[in-house]
Point group: D2
Chain length 347, copies 4
């Protein structure tokens, strides 16, 4: 029985992980840490879990919680992770972190975009970017896995097959993406109040969103050239889900849509959670919301010789919580798909 | 040109009043008071008003703002109104208040349900309950009008014709009502965050909601007997709108649905904002959202000899802001319907 | 391995059953029947199931599908069930039906409220009302189970403990209920179009909704007296979920809220899916959406000596699909909770 | 008093025009034509208009309705407009059409993208593209005005200042846009059912949406070169509103954001309905929903030397109905802003 602790457990990502794992018979969540709700049952914060996961929230005491678990998932703000995780690693724990703190290979890129000084740069080289489709082997033995951002997961998986196979230019990639509101976390901010968000649509973080360099890092590694992308996130009035529309310039016009489709199918042939749609079909967020699946569709605009890829996932699923569970399964040597194959609710 | 000041202007009720009045040529909003946004343009808080109402928010300085306007609308929390309004009245201003502070004829009822001591009980006897359908004449000359609560407006108008005409029992009246989220005001509370409210439905304030005694007061006055009602509010995931389903026991079974329908039509024959639906039709909140109308439908359950009345309004319209404008029109001797006849958006 | 067929599988109830069962290792859905989509993969209709349940939809040919399965779940319009189910029963199949056709003990009540002639009245006496909390033993051996309506499930479970224990009057029970839009089924009707439904709230079916006599039948059986209820359904802009607010008159004022609460806790002590909330807490539909749970809270209005019970469930969960799976588990001698203990998504 | 007829009046665009004009004292809607609702009061179709506009729907009889009005607004499917409008023009009527039929200067472009043969190509040369910001003078005297598409209005106004001033390349323009669901019209299609649309997000019409050539036509005329754009529309779960994010490559890096901002402000200096936001602010659809305003914000991505423009409007406002009213005001020699200056509801 794998013993797991979750730190920052009462945010939406933490709650989703509890939901995914509460009934597992091979994993036991032995501690849920939440400074805001110390001493309260987890199910008082999330009454959907009443009778299912009623454990009491612990305070963040590394010594105490280290006694309870061997694996930890941290869902903390960036900058906080760097102060907590080193102490867990010192105690021999294996950690999956949800912040941006350990996603970057170059600490300068991190510090520039996040506008903070990194507290634990010595750990960066051993951290593994937790995207199983790209780093499965590294995840297996990692002690520190950086769960990828939701936008990067959605974008990288959409672009990787084309870019790695050099059928598109590495320049002038434009990504427009849309997130559900849960991506902002469990916050009492007016901007995310129902009356301010419902029936509304907006762009934000234009030209400066922190997921930009994360996407660029991984795309650059895939094609061996420095990639810069124009990435624009938007906020739409739904709770869960994410869609990215990625525009790439095809390098030649000799490839038919069917060729490119085959290339995508091949690229993900062995991936249990990436579904390439038949040509002519387009994905919708409701097809994946509540699940760990990513659905991807390609369209060729022959007038402009562009490849347009639409990808969808659940920002709380493959975009964070269930992707962390997938990494956990891999790290623990369990069946990677355990507990993750369920379809979304559709409605 | 009537000069109006709004105190507590940057809440949703205040903003709705500004929206309704900004383009009027007979009323000028000369001061908008908002302690949270002093010195900022009103349109920075509500960008929908950019170029339409860009006045700078004032701080609450009674002496200063009294120089600017003759009429004031206050949209302040209960308990605060009682400290601000006496000073405005002393300066000869006429005031419409949105709080519960001056809605009750019996200060004890107020203090019991609101759990505060009333600071200005001497003003109660001169305050007028601002429901034009019941108190039009009193409003004309009033210096202090208490704008009714949204639930009371919706409930009282639904029940008044039956109760005043003694066709139903004054006992065992049950009112189930539903409000849109804007009824909670412009708040950064987690309970009203998009992710907590969207796709959710709940009851609240069962057996203790403060609008209960307000409904009871007015119904008691209408029938001359002490009325107690069972009132239960609910919160639904939409921004504007309110619906009340009111259950009454018919006193006799001699009245046909058509008789009762006629009675309702007659009761509101001269009311410009109350629309009685034809028998067999039911109202929906989208028929009135964004307007000052109240739509009311009656159904007779002959199996149970019950009269069931469904009424809808916009909680920010006839439920608060536009009802205040209606009262303002009346107080100022203007055409009561001025600026208020527009239909809602439907969608 | 239990072999199951679903008839009328591409409606929302059918799709939810497929979602719940697709990954079960003890049940295999061997045929999904949908006249509208014959020959198409089920996952073409519900792309959330791509790669998870891709079986081809069959046409309704009783002989053919009878070869494929031993249990059938029918999700057909009322009046259609009566023509299909007798033929399945003749072939020795065990059936769970979602229509109203077999929920009534008195065929006259059915014919009066449904305004059709019943085609198979001889089967009524052997049909079992599929509410496990009341009829668990009967379900075990039944060949024909009538899955209860969503509103009746939500209402009956809320009222049963009080009524069966005679602490409330069997007269003057008022039930106000609200359903999410999926309760209307998968329909291309303008009334359920997004633009007509979103940001809207309405009552419907006042005094004549077909779930009324179903509630009355079961409540009458529980207390041994003829019960008539005033039942009013409403439609709110969310997809899944149902809430009922039930008003009852307490028969004495000797019972404290704690007493009544204990009585409710006791009544459902052994029920895995009914959760009685602590006094002072109220349920929300998001606490149960996507699950088989029912959450129930009681409030005593001591001013009026009324018991007010709020109950919530998922209309596609305990209100139909997952309740059918619960019945199926019972009929098949499996663990009743198998595959049903998962919490809802919360968001 | 201008007498106006609306043909195809019971769709959402028609209803919005009625809403905007019903209380005008200088315009009278003398006939509303709707084949689906002949003989029924308009307010039976849109109960929000009960008591406000109860006129009976007429059938489409050109002779009869021509007697009633001098101006007509047609809200008909493309291909139908071409058969109705010539007969109105023959009778000397002035017409504003909402379809795509008369938006194109080159009939071949129309026929290629709309896949129909144009029935009245002789009228094209006299039709005016009804975007007041570009064609105000032509609209004044036009007999046939083609009301622009919603996406083209939102995109063209966002790009025009940069392109006409040659600060961006006319190549590689990418436009990602999002519409509320009312853009699909009042339809009973499953794809737009609440349960299929709510909490969902999707792209559609990739590389083949009919608004693409309309955008290209106007942008080409603005810069004198053939412009091709990559245009991708998306559908989001809200009723009203539209946002476009337009990406352009800056032709030089000598222009500061402030320079470009000034250029935009200057370009629209005299436009009553175009609001250029201060640098650093971004528009949201709720700022314009329910109004005739367009809000536009520019951002410079200096890393990529790109200009990113976000523009918002109400697809039923400036995107169709209120823009038609603006054109009508111009055609009739009325104050162009009459009845259109009201802000949106914000919520």
């Amino acid at each position: 029985m794998l013993k797991l602790g979750i730190i920052g457990a009462t945010g939406y990502v933490g709650a989703e992980i509890v939901r995914l794992l509460a009934l597992r018979d091979d994993i036991k969540i032995t501690t849920v840490v939440s400074n805001s709700f110390v001493g309260q049952p987890f199910s008082a914060v999330y009454p959907s879990l009443r009778g299912i996961y009623d454990n009491i929230c612990d305070k963040l005491d590394i010594d105490e919680i280290s006694e309870k678990a061997d694996f930890f998932i941290t869902a903390l703000p960036h900058g906080v992770s760097t102060s907590v995780i080193p102490r867990l690693l010192e105690k021999g724990k294996r950690v999956i972190d949800h912040s941006g703190d350990f996603r970057f290979r170059d600490v300068n890129v991190y510090e520039k975009w996040y506008k903070v000084t990194h507290n634990a740069p010595h750990l960066i080289s051993n951290a593994v970017y937790g995207l199983p489709e790209l780093y499965r082997n590294e995840i297996k033995t990692a002690f520190l896995v950086a769960d990828p951002g939701c936008y990067p997961t959605c974008s990288i998986l959409a672009i990787a097959p084309a870019l790695e196979n050099r059928i598109v230019s590495h320049k002038d990639i434009v990504i427009t993406a849309v997130s559900g509101v849960s991506g902002a976390g469990r916050k009492s901010e007016l901007a995310y109040a129902f009356c301010e968000t419902d029936e509304n649509f907006k762009a934000y973080g234009i030209a400066n969103h922190r997921h930009t360099p994360e996407i660029e890092q991984e795309l650059s590694l895939l094609c061996g050239k420095p990639v810069m992308v124009s990435f624009t996130p938007h906020l739409a009035p739904f709770k869960r889900g994410m869609l990215a529309t990625s525009y790439m310039n095809l390098d030649s016009d000799n490839l038919s849509p069917a060729d490119i489709h085959s290339l995508y199918v091949d690229y993900y042939r062995n991936e249990p959670f990436v579904r390439i749609l038949p040509l002519g079909q387009l994905p919708e967020t409701k097809h994946v919301a509540g699940s760990n699946y990513v659905d991807i569709a390609i369209t060729v605009d022959s007038r402009l010789n562009k490849l347009i890829v639409v990808s969808v996932l659940d920002n709380l699923g493959k975009g964070s919580a269930s992707q962390a569970v997938q990494a956990l399964n891999i790290m623990a040597g369990l069946d990677e798909t355990k507990g993750l194959l369920s379809p979304g609710l559709y409605l």
